[in-house]
């Protein structure tokens, strides 16, 4: 709030009326539930929901000792690193190539941005159909080259499936940011290097890539946030967290434990853990990524 207006209006009631709708929604649907999650995370409810008792940090201790929870952490880590790495590299290659060609850059942009509009759940269904073990067109192709694809039994296949769907959906976003970043790099730098005889390959690694690093870092954070929190629908549509619990990422497990298994204390503790993850990521994003891209 450093920047202030010199000129203001005066009214003791109007500003309150103006922010009232926003505040009412925030209090009712954000702060109150978050508080409830904190409160429930230190309570234990019996199976019939008749009595609750204060158990302190027991729910967290239970989580810490729960192997499926630790496994879910690992699954989420693997998943988000794969999504971020694949998504960023593919988008970077496409953006660099699209940036090179002046003719048709707009057309290419149009051709590559629309997957952003596809809902994660729909993306999950699309990829599921292509890879469906018995009817899928890609799984058929893979069978022809000797790879028996079945994400219903093979955890690695299931992971690959949700990674592909998640990367596909996120490519547009990464592409647009990389393209904007590339277009903001001063042409004179590149020209100077070219005159000095640097090849395009060398120019990319010594000039373009370092200058792009703020964008890359920003996108890395965004992609990790995305794969942590926005991919629930992809997982739910494509694999249901299976086979077994092999693709049950943290948010999926939280939903499952709270809504299907009705373990309120446990799921509240998971909520609290996830909240700290978001807080950490948000702090990183605002602390280090403040001025990421100059347009």
């Amino acid at each position: 709030m450093a920047v202030e207006k010199r000129v203001r209006f005066r009214s003791w009631w109007l500003p309150w009326v103006l922010i009232a709708p926003q505040m009412a929604i925030i209090l009712a649907f954000f702060f109150w539930p978050a508080g409830q999650a904190l409160y429930q995370s230190v309570l234990m409810q019996d199976a019939f929901g008749t009595s609750t008792e204060f158990v302190g940090l027991d729910n967290f201790r239970r989580l810490w000792n729960d192997e499926t929870y630790l496994a879910s952490f690992q699954t989420t880590a693997v998943f988000s690193l794969l999504v971020a790495f694949c998504g960023l590299s593919i988008a970077l290659v496409l953006a660099v190539m699209a940036d090179r060609v002046i003719k048709g850059a707009m057309v290419y942009k149009t051709l590559l941005i629309w997957p952003y509009a596809v809902a994660p759940a729909v993306a999950g269904v699309l990829w599921l159909f292509m890879f469906a073990p018995s009817v899928g067109i890609v799984s058929y192709g893979l069978r022809q080259i000797g790879l028996e694809w079945n994400h219903l039994v093979d955890g690695r296949h299931a992971m690959a499936l949700i990674v592909m769907a998640a990367v596909w959906k996120q490519i547009s976003y990464n592409f647009l940011f990389f393209l904007a970043g590339l277009q903001s790099i001063p042409k004179s730098l590149i020209e100077a290097a070219a005159i000095d005889g640097a090849t395009p390959w060398r120019r990319f690694w010594t000039i373009v890539f370092p200058l792009l690093s703020p964008t890359t870092f920003f996108l890395l954070v965004i992609n990790i946030v995305y794969s942590f929190f926005d991919t629930f629908a992809i997982v739910d549509a494509a694999t249901h967290g299976g086979p077994g619990k092999e693709t049950a990422i943290l948010v999926y497990k939280l939903y499952y434990d709270g809504f299907k298994a009705l373990d309120l204390g446990g799921s509240a503790a998971q909520s609290v853990v996830l909240m700290s993850v978001v807080i950490a990521l948000t702090v990183v994003q605002f602390r280090y990524v403040e001025k990421k891209v100059q347009y």
Partner: protein
């Protein structure tokens, strides 16, 4: 371009075209599947990649519901599209409206607790639905908003990003405009309506695209707050169609539904491309 390297230029075009094709492939397959019968898809593996002749009947079944060739009942997607449309409009317009109002209050007024309120809005960035699933559901259910449009939309229309965007924009509006408005005898709301809102048109358009897609693509939230089939948005409805397993699914109808579910947000993105790109780069989500 810095220098002439025809080979590299050709390679660039090639890579991007290839990329665009690979990106489009899943949707092409989806469209083709929606023009075949489900028998064809299940019995002729791999299904043919040329369009089949059953497009109209598949889309008719998908849109209006009815019996499929297997004799199973399909819920009409038309209704679901309507639910999605109403929710997406309510969410995007609602977000824009309450964010404009609160950004106006934050920038043009000084009142006790202003900084606190501003920080509260900021903190909502750290509390996505995903981390407070059960307690939020509890609130909605206590308020009797399960299976209502209000339940589907109101909890989602608080928006930190939109508030920040408008605040940022209002800070760049010259003070002279306020002074001029004052001299003309305009009160704060008059200034807001006749000066500030018209000036914000581009930002509003940009945010609208982003938030419409956000609203249309909601999945987890409707999953929590709707239990009645007549209130399912299409994104949720489609997932319920694939519960039968590989061979038993009505793939053609499912894929027609997928196309129908993709079409409105994709159209919004393509028609409003300029604002979409602006909105994406500026709100950075």
């Amino acid at each position: 371009m810095v220098e002439r390297r025809p080979a590299l230029t050709v390679l660039s075009h090639l890579v991007v075209v290839l990329g665009a094709l690979v990106v489009a492939f899943p949707v092409y397959v989806t469209f083709i599947a929606s023009t075949h019968t489900s028998e064809h898809i299940v019995q002729h593996v791999p299904m043919s990649l040329a369009p089949g002749g059953h497009m109209l009947e598949t889309y008719k079944v998908a849109l209006f519901g009815g019996e499929t060739s297997y004799g199973s009942k399909v819920a009409p997607v038309g209704r679901m599209l309507w639910i999605s449309f109403v929710s997406a409009m309510a969410i995007s317009l609602g977000k824009i409206a309450i964010s404009l109002l609160s950004a106006f209050a934050f920038v043009y007024f000084r009142f006790p607790g202003r900084d606190l309120c501003f920080w509260m809005v900021f903190i909502t960035l750290m509390l996505p639905v995903e981390v407070r699933i059960y307690p939020t559901y509890q609130v909605v259910s206590d308020l009797g908003m399960i299976n209502t449009y209000a339940g589907l939309t109101v909890p989602l229309i608080a928006s930190a990003t939109a508030t920040f965007l408008f605040r940022q924009f209002f800070l760049t509006v010259p003070d002279e405009l306020v002074e001029a408005a004052r001299i003309d005898g305009a009160g704060p709301m008059r200034f807001f309506r006749d000066v500030l809102v018209p000036l914000s048109k581009t930002s509003v358009a940009a945010l609208f695209v982003i938030q419409f897609i956000y609203g249309w693509n909601q999945y987890l939230w409707p999953l929590l707050v709707t239990t009645d089939e007549s209130m399912y948005p299409v994104v949720m409805g489609i997932k319920r169609m694939i519960s039968g397993g590989d061979a038993a699914n009505e793939w053609n109808v499912t894929m027609a539904t997928a196309i129908l579910a993709m079409l409105p947000p994709a159209l919004v993105v393509l028609v409003m491309q300029k604002w979409f790109v602006k909105g994406l780069l500026e709100t950075e989500k």
